[in-house]
Amino acid sequence: MSVAEIRYIDKPHPMTGVTNSKLGIWCFLASEVMLFGGLFSAYILLRIGAGSAWPEGSHHLNVPLATLNTLILITSSITMVMSWASLTIKNFASFKKYMSLTIFLGIAFLVVKAFEYGAKFEHHIYPSENTFYAIYFTMTGLHVLHIIGGLIVNLYLLFPGSGMWNKNPDQFMGRIEAAGLYWHFVDLVWIFLFPTLYLL
C-alpha cells in the first residue's frame, strides 16, 4: 500500500457513498445557492421596497426568446446526462457526441442572449436605466458568466482532458459527473430566473 496516496479520488467513501470530487462539487453548489440566493433576495427586497414605484420591466423583455433559451438549456442538461451515461456503458464515441451537443447548446444559449442584450443596447437600455434592468442584467449576466465557465470546463473535458479516460476511467467519469452536476445547477438557476424576471 502506498503511504502517500490520497484516497477516494475514484472510489466512493464508505460513509458518504461519494468520491472526493462529488462531495466537493456539492459543497461548491451549496455556496452557489447562497450566491444566487443573495441576488434573488436583493430582487425581492428592491421590488417590495419600491412598492408601486417598481419599474415594470418584465413586459419589455422578450419572453419567446427566453422560452427558447429555457428549452435549449433543459435539452443541454439531458445531453449532459447522456454524455455521462455513455461513459458508464464505456461508449467513448457516444460520450464525445453528447458532450459536443451540450457545448453546442450552451453556445446557442449565449447567442440568443447576445441577441437579447443587443436589442436592449440598441435602444440604449443599459443596467443604469432603472432598478429592474439593473437586477435583470446583473442576474442574467452572472448566469452567463457561469455558463461560460461551464463551457470552458466541458471543452477541457472533451478535448485535452479526455486523455484521462484511457489512464483512469473511473476518475474521468467522476469528473464528467461533477461537471454534469454543475451544469444541472446552472440550468436550475435559469429555471428560477426565467419566471422571476420574465413572467412576474
Partner: protein
C-alpha cells in the same frame, strides 16, 4: 514510497507547491507580513488621535504631500488607514493565518492524511489570496488613495468614493474566491480523509473548529460577493442598487436612476460579516484547546458538550447579523428578533469558555509560553464576550453603537483573544514545522509585555465609548464630549508603541530559532494527537506508515500507563 519532492525543481517545491505543509507556511509568512503592515497603520492612526494635527515624528515625509503634508496626517489618509487596517487585519491577516496557515498545515496531520483532498486547488487558493492582497495594498498608490469608507464600505458613501474603492471590491472578489476554494477543500478532507479509527468524536477539537469554520466560510461569503458585485455595478455601470431616489451630493442631484436601498447592502454585508467574526474566533478556540489539554495533562472537561456547542454556534451565527443594524430604523420587531438570537448565541460561547476554565481544575499545569498565551486568552475573550452583551441588547446599543466601546469589544476578542491564540499556536507547533523549539525566555518576555500593552491599548477605549466618543474620528478634540477622555488617547498611543516593540523579541526568536533553536524529537510536548506522530518536519506524504486511531484525542493521565499521555495511535497500554 512516493517521496518525489526531492526531484521537484525549486519553483515547484517552494513557489507553486501542492504540499499542504508548504502552502501552510506560505499562508503563515504572507499573513504575518500583512499583519505587520496593519499594525504599522494602526500606530500612525493612534499618533494622530493622541496628538491631533501634529507632524509624525521622523517618518512623516514617507507618505507624501497627498497623504500627510508636513508629516500631518490628512483626514482622507486617516480614513484610508482606518478602512485598510480593518480589511488587512481580518481578510489578509487573521483568517489566512488561522485557517490558511494553521488549518492547512496541522489539520491533515491531525487526521492522519497524506495531504488535502485537492492539493492543486489548495495551491490555487493561496495564489488567489496573494493576488487579492497585492490588489488591496497597491490601492494606496492610485489617485485618490485606498478605500476610505470603513472596512464596511457602506453605500452611498462607498459608491461615490475614489478608484481605490473599486480596487477594494476587486480585491475582495479574489479573497472571497480563495476562501471558497479553501473551505471546500477543508470540508471534503475532514469528512473523507480521516484515518481508520478516527471517528468524528475522536477528532481533536482543532479539527472540529476548522470544520465548522469552513462551513461558515462556504455559506456566508457568497452574499458579500453579491454585495461587492452590486456595488461594482453601481460604481462602474451607474446602476442604483444602493442609491435611493433624490440623492443630492455637494449640492447637485445625482444623475442615476435611483430606486435603490442602502440597507440592502448592509443586510448582504452583515450576513457574511457576522459569521466572519466567528471565523475569526473558532480556529483560535481550537488552537487554545489543543494547547490547554496538552499542558494540564488531563482530558478536556466536556469535550462532547464543546463540540455540540461549536456546531450550534455555527448554525446560530447565520441568524444574528442585524444586531449590527439596530440603529438603521428597521423597527422594533426586527430588532427584537435579532436581539433574541444574539442572546441565545452567547450561550455556546460561554459553554466553550467554561469548559476550558473548568478543565484547569485539578490539572498538572505546565506554564510554558504557548500555555501562557492560552491562559491569557481565557479572561481576555471573557472581557470581549461580556462587553458584547450591552451591544447585543438593542436598548443599550443605542448609546454604544458606533462608539469606541464597540472597537474595544471586538478588539478584545480578536487582539488579546485570537492573536494570542495564534501566537500560542506558533510557539506550540514551531517544533513540528522546524524540528527545533523557540526560546522560552524570549517567549515569556514577548508574552508579558504583549499582555500588558494589549490591555493598555484597549481597556481605556471602553471608557471613551461610554463617554460617547464615536468611531472613525480623525480629530476627537473637535467634539466637546470627547475632550475629557482625550488624555486616554496619549496613554493608548504609548501602549500601542509598547505593543509594537513587544513583538521584537518574537521576531528575533522566530528567525533565530529556525537556524539555532534547540533540536527536538517528533513529540517534545508529549502530546497525544496524530501530528506529533509524524517526523519534525514531516516528509512529503506525512507519515512513514499510515496511523490507526484507537481512542479519543485527550487521553492524558490515564491510570496503569507508564507515562502520563496515551497517543491516539498507540495500540496497547505497554
Amino acid at each position: 514510497m512516493g517521496d518525489k519532492s526531492h526531484t521537484l525543481p525549486f519553483w515547484k517545491k517552494y513557489i507553486f507547491s501542492t504540499d499542504h505543509k508548504m502552502i501552510g507556511i506560505q499562508y503563515t509568512v504572507t499573513a504575518l507580513c500583512f499583519m505587520m503592515v496593519g499594525l504599522l497603520m494602526m500606530l500612525i492612526m493612534r499618533w494622530q488621535l493622541a496628538y491631533p494635527a501634529q507632524p509624525l515624528p521622523g517618518i512623516g515625509g514617507l507618505f507624501g504631500d497627498g497623504n500627510a503634508p508636513g508629516g500631518i496626517v490628512l483626514p482622507e489618509f486617516y480614513n484610508q488607514l482606518g478602512a485598510m487596517h480593518g480589511t488587512i487585519m481580518i481578510f489578509l491577516g487573521v483568517v489566512p493565518l488561522s485557517v490558511g496557515g494553521f488549518g492547512n498545515y496541522i489539520m491533515p496531520l491531525q487526521i492522519g492524511a497524506p495531504d488535502m483532498a485537492f492539493p492543486k486547488l489548495n495551491m490555487a487558493s493561496y495564489w488567489v489570496y496573494f493576488v487579492g492582497g497585492v490588489i488591496m495594498l497597491t490601492s494606496f498608490w492610485v489617485s485618490g488613495g485606498a478605500a476610505q469608507s470603513g472596512w464596511t464600505s457602506y453605500p452611498p458613501l462607498a459608491n461615490l468614493a475614489s478608484f481605490g474603492q473599486t480596487m477594494w471590491l476587486f480585491g475582495m472578489v479574489f479573497l472571497i474566491t480563495s476562501s471558497l476554494l479553501g473551505s471546500i477543500n477543508f470540508i471534503v478532507t475532514i469528512i473523507h480523509l480521516r484515518v481508520e479509527g478516527l471517528s468524528f468524536f475522536r477528532l481533536p477539537f482543532f479539527v472540529w473548529s476548522q470544520f465548522v469554520t469552513s462551513f461558515l466560510l462556504l455559506l456566508a461569503f457568497p452574499p458579500l460577493e453579491v454585495a461587492s458585485i452590486l456595488q461594482l455595478m453601481d460604481r462602474l455601470l451607474q446602476t442604483s442598487f444602493f442609491m435611493p431616489s433624490g440623492l443630492v451630493v455637494t449640492g447637485e442631484a445625482l444623475t442615476v436612476s435611483g430606486g435603490g436601498n442602502p440597507l440592502l447592502y448592509q443586510h448582504l454585508f452583515w450576513f457574511l460579516a457576522h459569521p466572519e467574526v466567528y471565523v475569526l474566533i473558532l480556529p483560535a478556540f481550537g488552537i487554545i484547546t489543543e494547547i490547554i489539554a496538552n499542558n494540564i495533562r488531563k482530558p478536556i472537561y466536556g469535550y462532547k458538550t464543546m463540540v455540540y456547542s461549536l456546531v450550534f454556534l455555527g448554525f446560530m451565527s447565520f441568524l444574528v447579523w442585524a444586531h449590527h443594524m439596530y440603529l438603521v430604523g428597521m423597527g422594533t420587531k426586527m430588532s427584537m428578533f435579532f436581539q433574541v438570537t444574539t442572546m441565545i448565541i452567547s450561550i455556546p460561547s460561554i459553554i466553550l469558555l467554561t469548559s476550558l476554565l473548568l478543565s484547569l481544575w485539578g490539572g498538572s499545569i505546565r506554564f510554558n509560553t504557548p500555555m501562557l498565551f492560552s491562559l491569557a486568552f481565557l479572561p481576555m475573550f471573557a472581557i470581549g464576550g461580556l462587553t458584547g452583551l450591552p451591544l447585543g441588547l438593542a436598548g443599550s446599543d443605542i448609546h454604544l453603537h458606533d462608539t469606541y466601546y464597540v472597537i474595544a469589544h471586538f478588539h478584545y476578542i480578536v487582539a488579546p483573544g485570537t492573536i494570542f491564540a495564534l501566537f500560542a499556536g506558533i510557539y506550540f507547533w514551531f517544533p513540528k514545522v522546524t524540528g527545533r523549539t523557540m526560546n522560552e525566555l524570549l517567549g515569556k518576555i514577548h508574552f508579558f509585555f504583549s499582555f500588558i500593552f494589549m490591555n493598555g491599548v484597549f481597556m481605556p477605549m471602553f471608557i471613551q465609548g461610554l463617554a460617547g466618543v464615536s468611531r472613525r474620528l480623525w480629530d476627537p478634540t473637535q467634539y466637546a464630549h470627547a475632550v475629557p477622555t482625550q488624555p486616554l488617547n496619549e496613554f493608548i498611543f504609548i501602549s500601542a508603541c509598547g505593543l509594537g516593540l513587544a513583538q521584537i523579541p518574537f521576531i528575533i526568536n522566530f528567525f533565530m530559532s529556525i537556524f539555532a533553536g534547540k533540536k527536538v524529537d517528533h513529540n517534545p510536548w508529549k502530546a497525544t494527537t496524530l501530528e506529533w506522530v509524524a517526523a519534525s518536519p514531516p516528509p512529503h506524504g506525512n507519515f512513514d506508515t499510515v496511523p490507526v486511531v484507537y481512542r479519543g484525542p485527550y487521553e492524558y493521565s490515564v491510570p496503569e500507563l507508564n507515562q502520563d499521555f496515551w497517543p491516539q495511535n498507540q495500540e496497547g497500554k505497554n
